[in-house]
């Protein structure tokens, strides 16, 4: 069977995808690093040469800062699986969490942030 993004996966008519989700994570069901759906992650450019294909795929999709949920969607992996694998990559130093909380926009007050959002929406081309 070919996935949406053109990858070939083993698929059994009765059993579904031959590799079950939690097999990819060696049975782990929770990530070691706390990640939210909209946590922004980015590849550091420092990764092992021989990466598991699934990990390599995840790494490819965070070349630019991307939310966890977007990496999951583009890799075709469930969110929890993506989080566990991202967590592994973070611990290897191959991926880091974009520390949004240290940014100028965030040190602004929440009112200012909502106002910025409002201004942005009003200027949104329609």
């Amino acid at each position: 069977m070919v996935t949406q993004d053109g990858r070939q996966i083993r698929y059994d008519e009765h059993a579904g995808a031959v590799v079950r989700p939690f097999v990819i994570t060696n049975g782990r069901t929770a990530p070691d690093v706390d990640l939210a759906l909209v946590s922004l992650v980015r590849a550091s450019g420092r990764s092992a040469r021989q990466l598991d294909p699934v990990l390599a795929d995840i790494l490819r999709h965070c070349a630019q800062p991307a939310a966890v949920v977007e990496v999951a969607a583009r890799c075709g992996q469930p969110i929890v699986i993506t989080k566990i694998l991202l967590s592994d990559l973070i611990q290897q130093g191959a991926v880091y969490i974009v520390d949004a909380l240290g940014m100028p926009t965030v040190s602004a007050t929440e009112d200012e942030m909502l106002e910025a959002l409002l201004r942005g929406l009003k200027k949104l081309p329609v």
Binding site: P78, I79, V98, V106, G120, L124
Partner: protein, 216 residues
């Protein structure tokens, strides 16, 4: 680089570079019954075609009266559609999440709701009761929301006060009409939501921590 003695130097440099440009991701929810137009609305304003992803939730006998224990524990897959709007000037990325149609499952999805700025409850006047669950949920969780009546071509148009009464939505909560297919209309719903969030904050309703993207 001279400072090889610090193993995290490269990483810190990368972070320092990013602090110029890295945006903050915000989260908004679009909820409502099955087929009410959640993904349509997300797609209307999103800068990318809506993406679909899945989450595996552990559901212990959800929606049944069974008192059995762990043998009833199953993994449920819920699908989630989302879109994105980037505001480069403001340094903000907004993710819009269409909550899954199987509402009894997304209610359990803490990660989806924690840290959400606010929500849009979409309503179809032919199936008002499909929206009750979402309204109750946001009320209970203290997530601010606005209600948008999606004007389906074939649906009867009721005066908004009548819809408000039927939904038992408090007067201070914005209730508007929209066409989820229209980019302008969908954007206006978002504007209504953000204006409402601001008004609430100015009235001192929202706690300071509302934007904190804390973990469950």
């Amino acid at each position: 680089m001279g400072s090889r003695s610090f193993p995290s130097e490269g990483q810190r440099t990368a972070k320092a570079e990013l602090s110029q440009s890295a945006p903050l991701a915000l989260k908004l929810l679009v909820a409502g019954g099955f087929g009410v137009g959640k993904t349509t609305l997300v797609g209307a304003v999103s800068e990318i075609p809506p993406l679909r992803t899945e989450e595996l939730l552990t559901a212990a006998g959800v929606g049944t009266d069974s008192l059995d224990g762990i043998e009833n524990k199953t993994t449920t897959t819920v699908a989630l559609d989302f879109g994105r709007i980037t505001f480069p000037e403001a340094g903000l990325i907004t993710y819009l999440f269409g909550t899954p149609g199987q509402e009894r499952f997304w209610f359990m999805w803490n990660d989806l709701c924690i840290g959400a700025l606010g929500a849009i409850v979409l309503v179809d006047t032919r199936r008002l009761r499909d929206s009750f669950g979402a309204i109750d949920f946001f009320e209970h969780r203290g997530i601010p929301y606005v209600v948008a009546v999606n004007l389906f071509d074939s649906a009867p148009v009721y005066p908004l006060p009548a819809v408000r009464t039927a939904l038992s939505v408090a007067d201070e909560i914005p209730l508007i009409q929209c066409d989820a297919r229209s980019r302008t209309s969908a954007r206006d719903v978002l504007i209504t939501l953000v204006e409402y969030l601001l008004a609430r904050r100015r009235a001192g309703v929202l706690p300071e921590s509302s934007l904190t993207r804390s973990s469950p």
